[in-house]
Symmetry: C2
Subunit: 409 residues, 2 copies
């Protein structure tokens, strides 16, 4: 019998009525003849409430204990979802991370799945039960509770779909699919019917918050067809899948934007092996996530400029660290600039087409938007611009690359 | 090194400040040179909030799933208590039922402990950690989460004290000990310094809600000295321990009262073996808890009257069941009466003294209180009376048996 994994996020299980709705959807899939595994997050607001409690008791809470506290949120939801399914006269059973069991490494608060036992889940499905699994949580070799990081329930769902050889993994959320860009910025944003894993990876990493990046990586690695759907409508959603020929005919699939970035430039870095590693290794050690990195070719004096962005919140920490490093290494000035946005165009079709980047620069130039830094990958072009132009840039690019929805007639 | 188990109830961990207070107390015991195991309940109100959620989703929630949901309450508390201890610069580690592991039978919602692994706890104590264990929860042979019933955290604490050979088990609550009677009824109620296990068992079963009965049984069986103390004061509390000579000189240690009982009489029950078993077996099958049972000697016609009490809430269910049974068995009328209270005097000293019961009856007679049913055990005399006389009876008995506190001078 074909098997599907359905994952419901926090807003989809936010209150008893919504939980009953989840039960109805799971039972409907079961009645269509599927074996059904449901993965749920904590009720919306619950994880934040629990995190707040830990912060009230400790300025730097132990991540082991924080995981014990926050994983209770999903524990509540699995029980409630099973009760709702049973109340609608279907069979169901809840599974926690240690019951499945979902074995992870011991990186508390950000653990990675190492293996999943499928035996108990298959036994449950064989008993005609809907198996309801707590997302976000696992257990390490010593029996400690671990969590997979924000959005980790997506990863749980995809990993289960891979291990159980599911025919699809459906991610239910409060939006009805993946859009060409953020609809709050651009009212002509259009829902995509299909998007390639690679594109979704770029879109997710560039600020589209629909899916956790790791879940997309997992889905791509194990070729799990991934649907993003709304739990509040019957729309068909967006299918994230392998690239196909139709996709290649589309140059740009989506436009992503991230704001609140800060840009740093370290001037006159000696062009010696190991210095970049030292700078970025030190920043990583301070848990500073570095985004776009650009290094210009060395000047005649064997020195180069190194530019990169960090989140606005890490500005002070990064500046202090870089000033110290600059003295040690002997670089020039450290400059920084806030109120920077990153606008990116993404599309697998770019691989086989020249001129996409040039078109992007022209569109921005036509709008009078100055480009500070450019960075490209095979299927993406990113430009750092002044944050105040972010919305204008997104809308102009959206139109220029033919993404606008047709006006309703 | 001597080991103590401290158990903190819901009000003692009701908010972050109170949790910090629990951390201070645990650390203080550690600094006095004890190995310390802390057992905690869910934050006050939390178990009820979770139960309410399950009731919103199901009229008759599956007890397996209900246990999954409600056990999350203790999971949150253990994590928070450990964070509070760590913030005060001591070492601590949390343990859930499945991590200890506390193995129970599979009677969800009311499971019994079968065994406890002490290995991980001892390893934790050896690392100089305060081990913080989730009360109320266990795990069965199949890895399902179970709970021990209301007040089950007391049982967890005493069972751990027994297994770990603790020198004492301290139960912290919002009252500062065990009283001669309910202070809300009798303002001359006096705190007891010591009370025997047997007395505490009778007091607990007779409506004193300080401790769960099973925890006292456990403590008696394994001879664990049990302290009841307030987490909000430094009073020495009450020690529950084995009977000693000093105790035997006290005729009555306490007076218990339960209200909201309903009394049933089944008239003219044929005096044949097996009929009482049939009646009470049927009631037990309906989850009706039967209290005082009195059977008068058979009349000449080989028929007898059977009287007993049930909780007021079970009145209708009991009546319907008895009417059916009466027809089957061929008894006389089934009568019932509500607004009944049970007043009991308890004391190990009674064993060796005649006349205690007679004195009780005289005290009640002097106050004009009519006794409906009398029931006695070795260390207890219970009388059913009209509920409206309950407080009067308690106060009169409290004075007559010399329990009144001396007035403050």
């Amino acid at each position: 019998m074909a098997l599907i994994v359905q994952k419901y996020g926090g807003t989809s299980v936010g209150d008893p009525d919504r939980i009953r709705n989840v039960a109805r959807r799971a039972i409907a899939a079961r009645k269509q003849g599927y074996d059904v595994v449901v993965v749920v997050s904590a009720m919306s607001g619950e994880t934040n409430r629990l995190l707040k409690l830990t912060r009230e008791l400790s300025k730097r809470p132990s991540e082991r204990e924080q995981d014990v506290v926050v994983s209770s949120g999903e524990q509540v939801t699995v029980g409630l979802v099973v009760l709702a399914i049973q109340e609608q006269k279907a069979k169901a059973r809840s599974f926690l991370g240690h019951q499945v069991r979902i074995l992870t490494d011991s990186a508390f608060a950000n653990a990675r799945i190492k293996s999943i036992d499928s035996e108990r889940l298959f036994a449950s499905l064989k008993r005609k039960e809907i198996a309801v699994v707590a997302g976000f949580q696992g257990i390490d070799e010593e029996g400690n509770i671990t969590t997979l990081g924000r959005g980790g329930s997506d990863t749980t769902a995809v990993a289960l779909a891979a291990v159980l050889h599911a025919s699809a993994c459906e991610i239910y959320t409060d939006v009805d699919g993946v859009y060409t860009t953020d609809p709050r910025i651009c009212d002509r944003a259009r829902k995509l019917d299909r998007v390639a894993y690679e594109e979704m990876l770029e879109l997710a990493s560039l600020g589209s918050k629909v899916l956790q990046i790791r879940s997309v990586e997992f889905a791509m690695k194990y070729k799990v067809p991934l649907w993003v759907k709304s739990s509040f409508s019957d729309d068909s959603g967006t299918l994230i899948t392998e690239e196909d020929e139709a996709m290649e005919n589309v140059l740009v699939s989506g436009i992503a934007v991230t704001r609140d970035e800060a840009r740093f430039v370290v001037r006159n870095v000696p062009d010696k092996p190991g210095l970049a590693a030292k700078i970025f290794g030190t920043l990583a050690g301070l848990d500073i996530v570095v985004d776009v990195i650009v290094q210009t070719p060395a000047h005649d004096d064997k020195r180069t400029d190194l530019a990169f962005t960090v989140g606005r919140l890490d500005l002070e920490k990064t500046r202090d660290c870089l000033r110290k490093l600059a003295r040690q290494i002997g670089t020039g000035k450290v400059e920084h600039e806030v109120d920077i946005a990153k606008v990116s165009i993404v599309g697998v079709g770019m691989r086989n087409h020249a001129g996409v980047a040039a078109k992007m620069f022209q569109v921005l130039a036509d709008e009078g938007v100055n480009i500070r830094v450019i960075s490209t990958s095979e299927i993406k072009v990113s430009c750092l611009i002044d944050e105040k132009y972010a919305e204008l840039a997104v809308r102009a690019l959206h139109t220029a690359f033919g993404l606008d929805a047709k006006p309703a007639s």
